[in-house]
Structure formats: C-alpha cells, structure tokens
C-alpha cells in the first residue's frame, strides 16, 4: 500500500536517523500545465503531476544519496542511501539545525488561479497579432504554469517548506524565403504573472523587420554590441562556472586566485541574487535549508565572492552562500540564482552611433560547446545585424563570433543603462565590446 508523500518522508527520516549520523529528506511535488501552440494553432495541452523524495545521509562519515518516486517501501530508500554512503565522499560538515527563511516572494495566487482557457487566450492573441502584421510568419507559442511544493527536514531538527509558482512564456516565429530561414524568439520565466506578452510579440516583430535585408561583415576584429540575450549565451554562461566554489576549489577557475583582485573592467559589477521578489531563481532557502542571499561576485572589476553549498564550503574552509541546488537524483551543488549586472549609462543608440563598422549580436548558437572552464566561446551568429555608420543595415548569416570572456570583459566600451530579463535566470543590459573576433564566409 502506498503511503502519502508526507507519511513516507517522516518514516524515511525516522529510519535513517537511527542508522546514520545525519540524515536529510528533500521532496518536491509539482503540478505543471504546459500549453503548446505550433504552426499558428493550438496543438497540445498537458498536465504533469510529479512527486519524488531524496534522502541524503552522512553515515560512517561518508555521504550517500538515494531517491525515488515510488512511495511503497521507506526501508528500501534508507538501505540504498546507506549502501551508497559506504563509497561516498568524506563529509565533516553539519546540516543546519534550523531554517530561517529569507524574504523573497515566490508564490503568486494569480499564477495558481490561471486557467488553461486564459493561457490559450494569451497564446492565441500573440499569434493573431504577429500574423496580422505578416501572414507569412509561422508562429510557435509555449505557455507553462508550474505550482510546486518543496519540503526539507533533517535529523538535526531543521524543517521547512514553501510553495512556489512559476509562469513561462516563449514566442517564436519562423520565416522562409527561398532557402533563407529566419527564426526569432523570446522567452521569459517569472514566479508572477508579469510577463508582458504583447511587448514580447512586438519585440519579435521588430527583430523580424530589422532582418528584412541581409548584409555581410568581414573576417576581422570588429566592435560588437551584445544584446542582453546575446551576452547571456556567450559571456555570462561561460563566466558563471568560474564563480562556482566547486570549480574554484578544484583550481579549475581562471578567477579562482583573483579574490580581492581586479580581473575585469571597472565598468563590470555583477551580482548573484536569491532575494529578488518573484524571480524564477529566488527562494526563501536553498535546497539544503540555508537562507538565500545577495552575493556581489564582481565589484567594479574586482572579484569579490564565489558561491558555495554546505559541502563545498566545508571543503574550502568557508561558509555556504545559500546557493545549493539539487535535483532529486543528485546531491546539492553550488548554483546561481539570478545573475544581474549593474547597469551602465549608455543607451543602445549611443552604442550604435559610436560604430563605423560592426556587429549587433542577439541570438547565438553552439557557443556552449567549447572550453567553458577557460571562458573560451565560439558560436554561430544565429540572429545578428551589420552596423554601418551607426545604423543597423541588415542581417548577417554564416558568421561566427569568438573570444575569451575574461579578456572580453576586461575591456568594455560601454554598458547599457537598462536591464532586461533573459530567460529565467539573468537580468542583463546591452554590452558594447570594442573588439571581438568575427569570421564569415568568403564571398
């Protein structure tokens, strides 16, 4: 006979605490309802109900993990975790004995109350608007609502839970002329119902208009403006691993030995933030019960902090920064909440006006496939525009950009004065780099 999730968790903790020095039970229960529009029309409605439990033990001084979605036998889960602990990492840290919650708001009743009909209506309106402007556009819209409950309790007495909501919206269009394909997309995730769907369509349509004509850029070092989205998929993703305490501890971070030292342009100030209200990456406490916080990673070019979970902090002889993140089937690991960059003072127009010949990069493909550890990136400019005498003159194709993020952020020409949400985890401005490697197909 199946137990309820809570009964199962209680039983697991009770059994585990008798046989391990420390034990911790983590569970997630989720109801997710995605609505998919494909090829201009409603295609699929889905409902996902999932729940699962993870048990982490420290037994014989070693870490073990087991997880399950099968709530039949608490003894099996405990046995699996103890078996894993025979071979696990030596761990001398203590789990928290209380959980003090941080303040960010993570639950929006309006998201919980949002009906499938309303989601369908939002998607349909976006598609109707886009098609009214250009009937040749093939539109795709994905709306996704998630309500989840996270629960954590451990053998040292800490217990906490929270219910979070999240709403994601993505909108993309495809336009084919001859053998030329144009794809433009936008997506955002928020814990609140605050994503401006109408503005998202207008942004996509604006980018389609800018791509009306094609243009070429030479193979050369050129001034490049990265849009918030372009900066996210080139600079920030490769930068992020360098601030992960685990990578630092291993000596594999290029900035690992730069704490307190200047490693970037003084224009760069970068935060990781677990406290932003309704941000997708915010939570009252992290996945092992440590309150979340705001951490300045880079302050005016100086490396000011790395991020840690409890185990990594123990190994590094420091404190957790409340950045533990885990899936049910893995141990917690340091992970960023929301990364945001302190805005600068330039407008996009200022940046463009400064460029005789250059490139505006918005969507980049394949830049993740490289030596991320060293901050090296190289990717196809999937959506980007040639800048000529301060004007955007056409879309470039078959063009690569490449560079090293640590060098690129050492020499920044300007940072935009407005932040834009990128996906769920970033808030970034436009970034203007005086020179980046550009390669394009020979004429």
């Amino acid at each position: 006979m199946s137990l309820t999730l809570q009964e199962f968790e209680e039983r697991v903790l009770e059994l585990a605490r008798r046989r391990a020095e420390q034990a911790e039970v983590f569970s997630v229960e989720t109801v997710e309802t995605p609505v998919a529009f494909e090829a201009n029309r409603l295609k699929q409605l889905r409902t996902h109900r999932s729940r699962g439990v993870a048990l982490r033990v420290i037994a014989g001084g070693r870490l073990g993990l087991a997880s399950t979605t099968l709530l039949e036998n608490p003894e099996d889960l405990v046995r699996d975790a103890l078996a894993a602990a025979q071979f696990g990492a030596q761990a001398g840290f203590e789990l928290p004995s209380t959980i003090e919650a941080s303040p960010p708001a993570v639950f929006d009743p309006a998201v919980e109350a949002l009906s499938v009909d309303e989601m369908v209506e939002i998607g349909q309106r976006m598609i109707d608007r886009a098609r009214a402007e250009n009937a040749a556009l093939l539109c795709e819209a994905h709306l996704d609502k998630v309500v989840s409950t996270v629960r954590l309790h451990n053998s040292r007495g800490a217990a906490g839970s929270y219910c979070g909501t999240s709403f994601s919206l993505s909108f993309g269009v495809n336009l084919i002329r001859g053998t030329d394909m144009l794809d433009v997309w936008e997506w955002q995730t928020s814990r609140r119902l605050d994503i401006p769907s109408d503005a998202m369509v207008e942004t996509v349509l604006h980018k389609v208009r800018l791509a009306e004509r094609t243009a070429k850029v030479p193979t050369a070092q050129l001034p490049v403006i990265l849009s918030p989205k372009g900066a996210g998929s080139t600079l920030i993703e490769s930068l992020a691993s360098g601030f992960n305490g685990k990578i630092v501890l291993q000596g594999a971070s290029p900035v690992g030995d730069k704490l307190g030292k200047k490693a970037f342009s003084e224009k760069l100030t970068l935060y990781d933030d677990g406290l932003l209200d309704y941000a997708a990456g915010s939570a009252p406490f992290d996945d092992e019960g440590v309150p979340t916080r705001r951490t300045a990673l880079v302050t005016e070019g100086v490396v000011t902090a790395f991020i840690y979970d409890l185990f990594t902090a123990y190994l590094a002889g420091t404190q957790s920064t409340g950045n533990a993140e885990r899936s049910l089937s893995s141990l917690p690991s340091p992970s960023l909440h929301t990364v945001w960059m302190a805005p600068g003072d330039a407008s996009l127009e200022d940046m463009l006006a400064d460029i005789q010949e250059g490139l505006l990069v918005d969507q980049v493909m394949g830049a993740w496939a490289g030596n991320i550890l060293a901050g090296e990136f190289s990717g196809n400019v999937h959506l980007g525009y040639r800048i000529e005498k301060g004007q955007i003159v056409g879309r470039v194709k078959d063009t690569m950009i490449a560079g090293n993020v640590f060098q690129a952020l050492g020499n920044i020409a300007a940072i935009g004065r407005e932040l834009y949400p990128v996906g769920g985890g970033l808030r970034l401005p436009y970034i203007y780099l005086p020179a980046l490697g550009v390669a394009s197909k020979d004429a």
């Binding site: 090829a39 409603l42 295609k43 699929q44 409605l45 889905r46 409902t47 996902h48 109900r49 999932s50 729940r51 870490l63 993990l65 087991a66 997880s67 399950t68 979605t69 099968l70 699996d80 975790a81 078996a83 894993a84 025979q86 071979f87 696990g88 990492a89 499938v116 369908v120 495809n174 030329d180 394909m181 291993q250 000596g251 594999a252 290029p254 089937s329 893995s330 141990l331 493909m365 394949g366 993740w368 496939a369 030596n371 060293a374 090296e376 190289s378 990717g379 196809n380 194709k397 063009t399 690569m400 950009i401 490449a402 090293n404 640590f406 490697g437 390669a439 394009s440 197909k441 020979d442």
Partner: protein, 455 residues
C-alpha cells in the same frame, strides 16, 4: 499489467487514439571531482503517462501515483477535446503484442558499487599520474535500466526493457591562468565491458589536455576541413539529421517545399541513414514509444533526399509511412520525432589522399557537441590541427565550425573508407528532452568552405 492497462484505456472511449506508458526504472551514478569521489547515489522510479488524440488535438498527462491512472486517461482525453478542431490524420500501424528483453552483455545491475568504483578509481589514477600539469579530473558514470509497459487503444501491448550506460572522463590541465580540458566519452546499450579497459584512452585524454596548454587559438576564417569519424558523426546529426525529423517539416509549407524528396543535397558519393533497427547501439530498440517497429531509414542516397524520420502523426500528415522514430526520454514527456543511430555510409577515399592537396586547412577531431537551427548549424571539435602543404601541422584549439545545410553537404569533397560508430556517452536534446541516447557514425570526410570561429 496488461489487463490493468486495457481496463484504464476503456475510460478513453470516444477519443481517436489513446496510449498509456508505465515505466519502472533504477539507476546508479558515481562521480568524481579531483582525487576524491563526489557523489554516489541510486534512484528508483515508477511513473506513467497517457496521451490522447481527438480531432487532430493532443492531450497528455503524466503521473507518479498509479492510483491516478484512470483519471489521467479521462483528463488526457478531455484536454485533447479542447484542442481538437480538425480531422485526425494518424498513420496506421499494425497492433503489436510483444515482450522484449534486450540482449545484454555484462549487465551493470550485476556489478557491485565497489567494482564500479574500483574501475573509476583506476581511470582517475591514470589521469593524475600522466602529468604534473593536471589540475583536476571529473568523472561521471551513470547507468539506467528501465522496463516500459505500453498499451494503446488499438490493441497493442508491449513490454520492453532497456539498459543504458554512459561514462565521461574529463582531464583538466592548468598553466598559470590558462585552463584546458580534454575528455573521453563512452556509452553502451547493455554491456558494462564497453566501459572497461579504457585506461589508454583515458591517458590519451589527459595528455591532450596538457598539450592544449601549448596550442594556439585558431584563427577565424574559411577553411577546407577534414573531419574525423567522431566529429563527422556529430556533423551529420546536426547538419542533416534534425532537418530530417518530419515534425520540423510537416506543418511548415515552405520547408516542405525545400525538403521535397528527390532534391539533391550532396555529391553522388553521399549516403546517410538513421535507424534503431541497426542492432547493439545506444539508439537501438525494437519498438518506438508509439509501439511502431524500428526501421533503418535512408535519408540521403547518392546525394539525393530519399526519406525522413516519422512519428505516426507526421507520417499521416505527409502521406508517408511511419519509421519508428517517435521517442520520449521518459514517461514525463510525450514522444517526439527523434534520431536513433545516424550515419554517413562508408566511402572509398583513403585518409592520406584527402590530406595530400590541402595547402591550408584544418583537421578537426572529436566532438564537444553541436547545435542546429535547421538552416545553419554548428559542430565543435575537441581537438584540431592545422593542415599545411598536405601535412598535419601544429595543434590549435577552440575550433567551432559552422555550416549551412543548403551548401555544406554539397561541399563534401571526399568520403573516407574508415567508417566507425561513435559509441559516445553523450546524448541528443530536443524540446526539453535531453540527453536521449543516440549514436552517430561516419568515416573521415573532407569539406571545403567551412567557416571556423576564432579571434
């Protein structure tokens, strides 16, 4: 189980089509960071999903609690009704009743955690003793066994078991602030021995990481490129495989025109296929997640588009036959049209002949990965050398290549005679479902006019 599923399917009466998948799984993972073990864990799972089709609209419900089964069928049908506005065109498939147990080599479930750890300890030791420039190591091992029960409203009932393993060994070398990495990636469907005795390959990866410290970043530009079988497999997966997945094409009129069967994409020497019916690979199976038997499908024959990969829906809408390519990474997702084992068939040109007349080019080997947006794609080399005057010259790094499907395949100048499958431990991602076990294969190929990113 069969009766239980058949009974639940009755709640879907009135829908055009309903299917149920239940899956029971267990997996083990071990990982290392540096000299010490990082994680050891075991996961067991039970879950299921119902998918329903009404008037061309889909409903899908996944769950962990089997008590929800009947209610999930009703909800999936209800959702499909809300969506369905047209007629259902779903290609017919013969109902199948079958029980499939895979042919296993060394079953990872029969190997103790202690023995698995001992093997990984050996590999880790190999990395660390290779050079004092080794800064750290990362090792990830994962095995998964899964028993799936599939039943649909047409009378199919299939029990199918799969066992999949992957191993990734990364060596990280450091010199001052320069950090370089190289890796070995291996996977296997059902045979742990494929992951054993890789000590010399692990050592090679460690040496490559150290060597990369003295390699210069590649200079960006347009080059003639020789691509080794491993990277060429990823190339064909990205360059053409994804565009062959009919769900990208079937509802896009313009793309359908561009992807007319009979269109020439490459030289007459080029033959490309995909198929789960090719046995013993990570993308192999007997039935796909719609219960359609696996095929081997030629995508390109003698340079000409001759086929594509289908689910029952895309086949029905395009008036073609299903190919057994509907796959879901697990019960939490509906099946999508996916590749299985994708390859460029063997050609005739020896490697030396490819090299001989290249004045300035790049020899790109081993894959970090790749990505596509259908027209343009990237594929990234984990190792690369300049070619100068017909000779392999100095090593370069950071080689990410881009191509355009309407030009790059036509720019293939030579296809080698040294075909092999990758057997890599990675996987494919699509629609949020990643990593799906696939394999790729190819001989060496030579392509002109490839844009390479660089400073």
């Amino acid at each position: 189980m069969r009766d239980q599923l058949a009974d639940a399917l009755k709640a879907g009466a009135g829908a055009d089509y309903v299917e149920i998948r239940l899956q029971r799984s267990e997996s083990t993972h071990l990982s290392y960071r540096g000299r010490e073990i990082e994680q050891v864990g075991r996961t067991t799972g039970l879950g299921g999903a119902v998918r329903a089709l009404v008037k061309g609209g889909w409903g899908f419900v996944s769950f962990n609690d089997l008590a929800d089964l009947r209610a999930s069928v009703e909800l999936a049908v209800h959702q499909a009704r809300l969506v369905g506005r047209e007629e259902t065109r779903f290609a017919p498939a013969e109902p199948v009743v079958d029980i499939v147990r895979p042919a296993l080599g060394k079953d990872p479930r029969q190997i103790s955690l202690a023995d698995k750890k001992r093997l990984l300890d050996e590999y880790n030791e190999v990395i660390w003793r290779t050079s004092d420039k080794i800064q750290t190591s990362i090792i990830r091992y994962h095995d998964l066994s899964r028993l799936s029960y599939f039943a649909n409203s047409e009378g199919s009932y299939i029990e199918q078991e799969m066992v999949d393993m992957s191993l990734v060994v990364v060596a990280v070398a450091r010199d001052g602030s320069d950090v370089q990495q190289a890796f070995l990636s291996r996977g296997s469907a059902g045979d742990f021995s494929a992951l054993e005795n890789l000590h010399s390959e692990v050592e090679d990866a460690a040496r490559r990481a150290v060597r990369l410290l003295s390699a210069k970043p590649v200079k960006g530009g347009t080059y003639t490129v020789i691509i080794d079988p491993r990277l060429a497999g990823v190339f064909i997966h990205e360059a053409f495989g994804h565009l062959s997945e009919a769900d990208h094409v079937y509802e896009n009129e313009r793309l359908r025109e561009l992807m007319q069967l009979g269109r020439r994409f490459g030289p007459p020497e080029l033959n490309v296929f995909d198929g789960a019916a090719v046995p013993g690979l990570r993308g192999s199976y007997r039935y796909d997640d719609e219960g359609v038997p696996a095929h081997k499908t030629y995508l390109i024959r003698e340079g000409v588009l001759v086929g594509r990969l289908h689910s029952r829906e895309t086949a029905g809408k395009m008036g073609e036959a299903p190919t057994g390519n509907a796959r879901a990474i697990n019960y939490q997702f509906p099946p999508l049209v996916r590749m299985t084992n994708t390859a460029i068939e063997n050609g005739t040109v020896p490697f030396e002949d490819m090299l001989a007349d290249i004045q300035l080019g790049i020899y790109a080997k081993d894959a970090y990965g790749g990505e596509t947006t259908m027209e343009m794609f990237t594929f990234s080399a984990a190792q690369a050398f300049m070619i100068r005057n017909g000779q392999i010259a100095e090593e370069v790094r950071g080689v990410n290549l881009t191509g355009n499907v309407f030009e790059t395949l036509a720019n293939i100048e030579a296809i080698g005679n040294d075909f092999r499958w990758n057997h890599s431990g990675g996987g494919c991602g699509k629609g949020g479902q990643s990593p799906l076990p696939v394999d790729e294969g190819s001989p060496h190929i030579r392509v002109r006019n490839v844009v390479v990113g660089g400073e």
